[in-house]
């Protein structure tokens, strides 16, 4: 399918007349890992839910893989994986049952479930109800769910939130593996220190607009924090 993973031009989203996104311009090319920074209320989650086709834009243009997002086909939907603030996993099913259910919806072979349980280190807990999982385990299960169908575009909303340092390091490693495997990733966070090592590009969302973008890679976290604070007025 032709077209880059994401092209947003003047993207607007309002809730009850209040603009949350006020004209976002953002483009993601294949294989990029773009980290979207921004304070609470900047519109990061709204932007990700728009890209995950869980919300409709109020204005502007959004194309995913070259297709208008407002008329996105199931084929486009199949190329997107989304991990939100919550896991989208059923608390009373086991980890394996959750993945098997979503595998059926995505038409994915059951062997893929075993591979992902192994990759996320959840194979030992696969037969336990998700209700008994720790925050880190739930986050890994949500990541496995989003990766079941090997999406070209992976959207991660605050993936480091609530994780201990070891779990953060594991997640950073896995994001690195996904980047190497060619996935395009957009992740949101306000944790600059954790975001910089995994990013090929960073963007700051502030008051519903992209205030700046910077190259990632070898970027110095302190410089990014300084630039962040300059825009948002000291709240980092």
């Amino acid at each position: 399918m032709p077209g880059p993973p994401v092209r947003a031009e003047g993207l607007v989203r309002t809730f009850a007349g209040t603009p949350v996104l006020a004209g976002v311009d953002l483009a993601l090319d294949a294989g990029e890992v773009v980290v979207l920074l921004g304070p609470n209320g900047a519109g990061k989650t709204t932007l990700l839910r728009l890209l995950a086709l869980l919300l409709r834009p109020s204005g502007g243009r959004l194309a995913l893989f070259g297709e208008d997002a407002t008329r996105a086909s199931p084929a486009v939907r199949r190329r997107i994986g989304y991990v939100g603030h919550e896991s989208a996993c059923y608390a009373d099913l086991t980890g394996a049952e959750n993945l098997a259910f979503y595998a059926e919806l995505y038409g994915v072979a059951p062997a893929r479930v075993r591979d992902l349980l192994d990759w996320t280190g959840l194979d030992g807990a696969a037969r336990r109800p998700v209700r008994t999982y720790s925050r880190g385990m739930t986050q890994r299960l949500a990541l496995a769910r989003a990766l079941l169908h090997e999406p070209d575009l992976l959207l991660l909303d605050e993936p480091f939130s609530g994780l201990d340092p070891e779990a953060v390091a594991q997640l950073q490693t896995r994001i690195g593996e996904l980047r190497t495997a060619g996935h395009t990733i957009l992740l949101t966070t306000h944790d600059v220190e954790r975001a910089v090592p995994v990013a090929t590009r960073l963007a700051l969302l502030h008051r519903g607009r992209v205030a700046w973008t910077r190259a990632g890679g070898g970027a110095d976290a302190a410089t990014i924090v300084a630039a962040y604070r300059t825009v948002i007025g000291g709240r980092a």
Partner: protein, 221 residues
């Protein structure tokens, strides 16, 4: 169809594991039947006339409680986003949820029906085939409407109040048909229940098709 079956299996597995709907419906069903029959305290000859109203009032009120749960479990952990993000036809979500609700409500009926006989001292066995047919038609119509409105109610704040408010006025034709059909079956079999059964069948067709067609708009972003 494959997606609908996956959703049906998932819902039934969760219900089997938690038994949340069934257990709450069981308690409410007994209480309602006790209240409805004790309040009337019918004579033996009044019981057949009273039974259809008691049966369907108990069924609708317990069913409302049970049916809320099927969409509430999609709300927990934002599972609805997982379903809506999947490359499936929203109509298959409707069909899967409808089928799960029909099974759940069938269990409610299988429990409420003998209790009505017990509390009203009625022998329902001779009329059982007809009663099962009427119960199934009433179940399908109720589930068709409740599945559609359950998806609406789960997205609003006062969802526990909203579902009965949306649903009960629209259920009036179904209840009239169901009570008429049940009365006919108890009086002399399916032949006397023709009018009520026609109403039930029409209700089922209209709201099953409407739910199937409208569900995508109801759950649209």
């Amino acid at each position: 169809m494959r997606d609908a079956l996956a959703i049906l299996r998932k819902d039934l597995r969760i219900e089997w594991r938690t038994r949340e709907s069934v257990s709450s419906v069981f308690v409410l069903g007994v209480l309602l039947l006790v209240v409805l029959t004790v309040a009337q305290d019918p004579e033996a000859e009044q019981a057949p006339a009273l039974a259809p109203g008691v049966l369907w009032a108990a069924f609708v009120l317990t069913g409302l409680l049970g049916i809320q749960r099927t969409f509430l479990l999609e709300r927990e952990n934002d599972c609805l986003a997982g379903l809506l993000g999947a490359p499936i036809d929203p109509a298959s979500i409707y069909v899967g949820k409808l089928a799960a609700n029909v099974v759940l409500l069938g269990l409610v009926q299988a429990f409420v029906l003998p209790l009505v006989g017990l509390f009203l001292h009625l022998d329902l066995v001779p009329a059982l085939p007809g009663l099962i047919a009427v119960c199934f038609l009433g179940n399908l119509g109720f589930a068709a409407l409740a599945t559609l409105f359950g998806a609406i109610a789960v997205r609003v704040r006062a969802r526990e109040v909203m579902l009965p408010l949306l649903l009960l006025p629209l259920l009036v034709p179904l209840l009239i048909g169901a009570v008429q059909a049940t009365r006919g079956v108890l009086a002399g079999g399916l032949v006397l229940a023709g009018g009520g059964i026609t109403v039930l069948a029409a209700f089922d067709v209209v709201f099953t098709v409407a739910g199937w067609l409208l569900f995508a708009y109801v759950v649209a972003p």
